[in-house]
């Protein structure tokens, strides 16, 4: 792959990651949010595949395939199953910060991550490291979703968004984290989602709702 094409596809994938993160913040229907998250997983896999093609690394290519299956297929599938189990409440109706304000907050977060990551980019300026602010923005937006949403499922998506961002930054900065490390991290995420899904189902069963804001007081 030529350098120009490599930079272009890499940048385009980063733009796609950013767009998906914004869409998660923008839309209210949980089903749409899950589909956008799946698209982000696929784009992340494409990003890693591009890095693999550029560095001629079969190990990275295997990782890209694994990431695509896990984040584009398995995790969204688990979330979609949790959504069908959750019953009629399909929308994030009352986020703590309203959507317009949270979109503006995301703009501030994007600028913040750009300012913070400039020293990092200055260490080794390359097309891959220049995209670090994108990864960091996805992390911050994910964290924002995690703290401002009320439904357990959208908080779960926020957590996974954060993890997507961390993975992006990881691959962009050091391509050779090692297959074992990546496998470990991926299994961790899968396990966390499984545990949180069961937890959500239990909350649902006990209280009839997955609105975590209602769970403030202790009952006998």
């Amino acid at each position: 792959m030529g350098t120009a094409a490599y930079v272009q596809v890499l940048d385009l994938a980063c733009g796609g990651l950013l767009l998906c993160a914004v869409l998660v913040l923008w839309r209210r229907e949980l089903a749409v949010i899950i589909r956008v998250f799946a698209a982000q997983g696929v784009i992340l896999a494409v990003l890693v595949a591009v890095l693999a093609a550029h560095q001629h690394s079969p190990e990275l290519a295997v990782l890209a395939l694994g990431l695509g299956v896990l984040r584009g297929g398995v995790l969204p599938w688990l979330l979609a199953r949790a959504l069908t189990a959750a019953g009629p409440a399909r929308r994030e109706t009352r986020p703590l910060v309203n959507v317009a304000a949270s979109l503006l907050a995301a703009a501030v977060l994007a600028l913040l991550s750009y300012a913070v990551s400039r020293p990092l980019v200055a260490l080794i300026p390359s097309p891959a490291t220049e995209a670090i602010p994108v990864g960091l923005t996805v992390v911050l937006i994910g964290f924002f979703v995690l703290v401002t949403r009320r439904r357990a499922l959208s908080q779960l998506v926020g957590f996974l968004l954060m993890d997507n961002g961390i993975t992006t930054v990881g691959f962009l900065t050091s391509a050779n984290a090692g297959l074992v490390v990546e496998l470990g991290v991926s299994l961790d995420v899968l396990l966390a989602v499984l545990v949180l899904r069961i937890l959500t189902a239990r909350i649902q069963e006990t209280f009839g709702d997955a609105d975590l804001d209602e769970l403030r007081e202790l009952h006998d």
Binding site: A4, Q8, L12, G15, L18, L19, V22, W26, L103, V134
Partner: protein, 315 residues
Amino acid sequence: MSALGWAGGITQPVLIVAGSPVLVGMMRQVRARLEGRAGPGIAQPWRDLRKLFGKEAITPRGTSEVFRFAPLVQVATVGVVAVVAPFITAASALGAVADLFAVVALLALGTVALALAGLDTATAFGGMGASREMTIIALVEPTLLVAIFALSVRVGSTNLTDIVSATLRDPARMVSPVSLLAAVALVVVVVAETGRLPVDNPSTHLELTMVHEAMVLEYAGPDLALVELAAAMRLSVFLGLLANLFVPWGIATTATPLAVLVGILALAVKVGLLGAALAAGEVFLAKLRLFRVPELLAGSFLLALLAVAASFFLA
């Protein structure tokens, strides 16, 4: 001023004035067919305009010059944009006016004139429509500026003709996150600014939810014809800008008759396709609640801002 600029300055306004009612008719026809109706045919807006121009001019009692001049101001501002912006030729008749800030300011001026006219009638509907239109334009204008500005950063000029020519020279540049984010932002903003679904429903009349129709409720006869014509021209101008900023192919770069003819055809095809897509999309959409509109526009503003940020850090 170059020969190419002259050619554009003459053909563009003629095509846009003649073609925009046809575009509106085509979009209504597409919608009618998709909804299972026969539709009035694509020439219906022109027939309506002819009928309205033939009537006598009357204005409501108590209205001032603001009300009478607003349709003229609106047609004039859109007309200037139709002359200068790169639609058919890649050169402008008045180079300095084809600047991004000037074009956006001209288009906003027309909206403000109409909103003032809505207030001038002192009816409940007029004031309501004007206030809603101002809410929308306050969010639309920054997004429009920032999104086109993102495209101008790598060209190094805010002149629309320079942006279009740079894209023509180096098409590979369009495949970038900047264009991706700016394109999404611009589509949302164009839909909002031209008063289409889901922001405003162009086919409603006398409903509490309407925005554009509420402002023009008191107009009749030739004034109403001008308002309708200006609204149709705005739609074609916005769709033409959207098409040429991202897909400029076919635009005339030499002043030969053949190149200009190809430019006319290319513009008609591009705007026609965009219009048909917009009309087909509207069939599947419901109007957004007015309080949700700022949400939609804040999202597109964020995307435009990210496009500008990306043009600085990914480049």
